[in-house]
């Protein structure tokens, strides 16, 4: 991206969002390890923030997003409240899912975020269905569905993408490829040329983008979103990035080749790369630091607030299961 065509405001706001995501997850990891406040597993997306920031920049709150177990960044970028999210990670009252879902099921329907998912690949068919509803209802929202590189080996990948093609649905599928599936190098368990090739074989226009280049992602997404809003067929985006931490915040990731993560951080940290781009077009070091510090402050703050929030009222354990035959009425 040359400075000639560069949109400074957008660039700055992309950086800001990445800073917020990074800071949120750093605090979440501290809450888990230092404070022992997060009891379940959390899956940080540190190093992958460009995908969330770049894609969501082109969506409105009315558009729909579905995500995976590693969905904090996507959710924040879609506009969810960082405080409600942190409360959810801590299982507290006022958490965006009332403390019932936790990190793996984070969702905020008020901003069109229809849920992270604890089952790899399961969001693909659900997202296709959300887009199917948009076709039936006849409005012009679009759907973005994000999943990892490991999900391309699950059946629903084929079924959901074929579905979207057959019914010509307004949806973008994004493979956020961080190269690992838990402790396994995904490549070793994946036949052929991977995500984009598979999607193309199912009849989908597929684009490959540098997943650590937030400007490139935002540009690509601008075009894709326009095509989808114009009634174009569903599309696929493969964004290659790198999982800098372990699979969960508890995982030291000792199985990775020595130095791989350090090397990646040095070369490909999306925040540093975006800072460099912005510096080149005149952003000051002060402004860069300001974004960083604001993000830090926001997230330290919300962690403190969340930690001070009570657990959910006990009787919520039995509501929102179902109306007919509710356990609040008869447990059994």
């Amino acid at each position: 991206m040359t400075s000639a065509g560069h949109n400074y405001e957008r660039g700055r706001s992309l950086l800001q969002m990445m800073e917020r995501i990074r800071a949120f997850e750093e605090q979440a990891c501290l809450a888990a390890e230092r404070d022992k406040l997060v009891l379940g597993a959390i899956h940080p997306s540190i190093g992958q923030e460009a995908v969330a920031a770049g894609i969501m920049h082109n969506l409105s709150k009315e558009d729909i997003l579905l995500s995976t177990h590693r969905g904090h960044g996507h959710t924040l970028a879609k506009g969810a409240s960082s405080l409600a999210m942190m409360r959810e990670l801590l299982g507290r009252e006022g958490g965006c899912c009332g403390g019932k879902g936790g990190s793996m099921h984070i969702a905020d329907f008020s901003v069109g975020m229809l849920g992270a998912n604890g089952v790899v690949g399961a969001n693909i068919t659900i997202a296709a269905g959300a887009a199917h509803a948009i076709r039936l209802l006849g409005d012009n929202r679009i759907v973005v569905d994000i999943f990892g590189d490991g999900a391309v080996n699950r059946g629903p990948f084929l079924e959901g993408i074929n579905w979207a093609v057959v019914f010509k649905l307004p949806i973008l599928f994004v493979c956020e490829d961080n190269q690992y599936s838990a402790t396994t190098k995904t490549k070793t368990m994946t036949g052929g040329d991977g995500a984009a090739a598979r999607a193309a074989s199912l009849g989908m226009r597929s684009t490959v983008v540098d997943g650590n280049d937030v400007e490139a992602i935002a540009d690509t997404m601008t075009d894709i979103a326009a095509r989808l809003r114009d009634g174009g067929p569903p599309e696929f985006l493969h964004a290659k990035t790198y999982r800098r931490m372990g699979h969960t915040s508890f995982d030291p990731a000792a199985y990775r080749p020595e130095g791989e993560a350090v090397e990646e951080e040095k070369k490909n940290d999306p925040i540093e790369r975006q800072r460099a781009i912005l510096r080149a077009v005149g952003m000051t070091e002060d402004d860069i630091q300001l974004l960083h510090q604001n993000a830090q402050k926001e997230m330290i703050d919300i962690l403190q607030k969340a930690a001070g929030t009570p657990f959910p009222a006990s009787d919520t354990a039995f509501i929102d299961v179902q109306d007919i035959g509710s356990p609040a009425v008869e447990a059994y």
């Binding site: 969702a107 998912n117 089952v119 068919t125 959300a130 199917h132 509803a133 179902q322 007919i324």
Partner: protein, 325 residues
């Protein structure tokens, strides 16, 4: 009051619901040509391709997509063709649909009907004959319906479509052709059993097609001077404990009969509940009839060995009465 087949009754329910609510739509393989049992015949012509939608052979996508569409405010009716094939979409049903509302703290709902024709059907063998209603009764978040008559397949399906919770709707594929009067004004309330025969000597609890067989058994018992009450549960979650307990309080004798495998079947739930709440009031041993824990064969004589027959129900009722204490 029209006389309709079980199939036609379901057709009428879907047609009426689709006319009154534009959010309702149907999706499944071959629906455009009327569905595999003809239970969607004519609907494509009235409602068009988008609302009577074909589907690829992708059970997981049918189920998953229906959830996404339900969370967006539409009301899908999902056709699984044979309940056996729904096993290809178990994650979608159990981990996704049943949990979508709760997991997200009540932000979403999944109003949908999952139609899964179940049961024995002329030499269809082990992969096309199963009845797994007890599985779904075990899963929080799901409502479970097992209609046994044309009237119920009308009223219950209408109620299922109107329900804001996901309903696993298990039609019995052996009885598409049975006929009966259908009163379109009769409304169904989940968790309300129907007393198919009133009686005072013994309570027979059943559902789905086995309730019809239980009615036959009750008629035979009447000839033998035994007054049997047949309680057709109709919905298994919620289920009508009150009707069962009231009947058992009257008769003191309980027989539970169903087509599915007895072991860990829903009959065990009925008996366990009676034992917990009213065990001391029983005057004879409870009797449970269900399929042996064996698989369904293709050969008709082998297949028949898994059936619960009217004779077996009669014998069980007589047996508990004889052992009255």
């Amino acid at each position: 009051m029209p006389k309709l087949s079980y199939r036609e009754a379901s057709l009428a329910a879907v047609q009426q619901s689709m006319r009154s609510d534009p959010a309702v739509w149907c999706v499944g393989e071959d629906l455009g040509r009327g569905g595999v049992f003809g239970q969607y015949k004519g609907l494509r012509e009235e409602f068009g391709e988008a609302r009577i939608s074909d589907a690829p052979i992708s059970e997981a996508a049918i189920m998953g997509a229906a959830l996404g569409a339900a969370m967006m405010g539409t009301r899908p009716i999902v056709e699984m063709r044979f309940s056996d094939f729904a096993l290809c979409a178990t994650d979608e049903l159990v981990n996704q649909i049943a949990k979508a509302r709760f997991m997200f703290g009540g932000q979403s709902r999944a109003p949908m009907v999952i139609r899964k024709p179940m049961g024995l059907w002329r030499s269809s063998a082990a992969q096309h004959s199963q009845s797994l209603e007890s599985w779904y009764a075990h899963i929080p978040g799901l409502v479970v319906a097992c209609p046994g008559t044309p009237q119920d397949n009308y009223s219950m399906l209408k109620a299922a479509i109107a329900c804001d919770d996901p309903v696993v709707y298990l039609e019995h594929k052996g009885i598409w052709d049975i006929e009966g009067d259908v009163d379109f004004s009769e409304e169904f309330e989940f968790g309300k059993a129907r007393i198919r025969r009133a009686g005072s000597d013994v309570t027979i609890v059943s559902w789905s097609n086995t309730a019809n067989i239980a009615v036959e058994a009750a008629d035979t018992l009447t000839e033998k001077g035994v007054s049997a009450e047949v309680v057709d549960l109709r919905s298994l979650w919620p289920w009508d404990k009150t009707a069962v307990l009231t009947s058992v309080a009257k008769t003191g004798h309980l027989v539970v009969a169903h087509e599915s495998v007895a072991v860990a079947g829903f009959g065990a739930e009925v008996i366990a509940t009676v034992a917990e709440k009213a065990g001391h009031t029983l005057k004879g041993p409870v009797r449970r009839l269900g399929a042996p824990r064996s698989l369904v064969s293709y050969a008709p004589n082998l297949e028949d060995q898994l059936r619960v027959t009217s004779e077996m129900i009669v014998t069980a009722a007589q047996d508990t009465l004889e052992k009255a204490s």
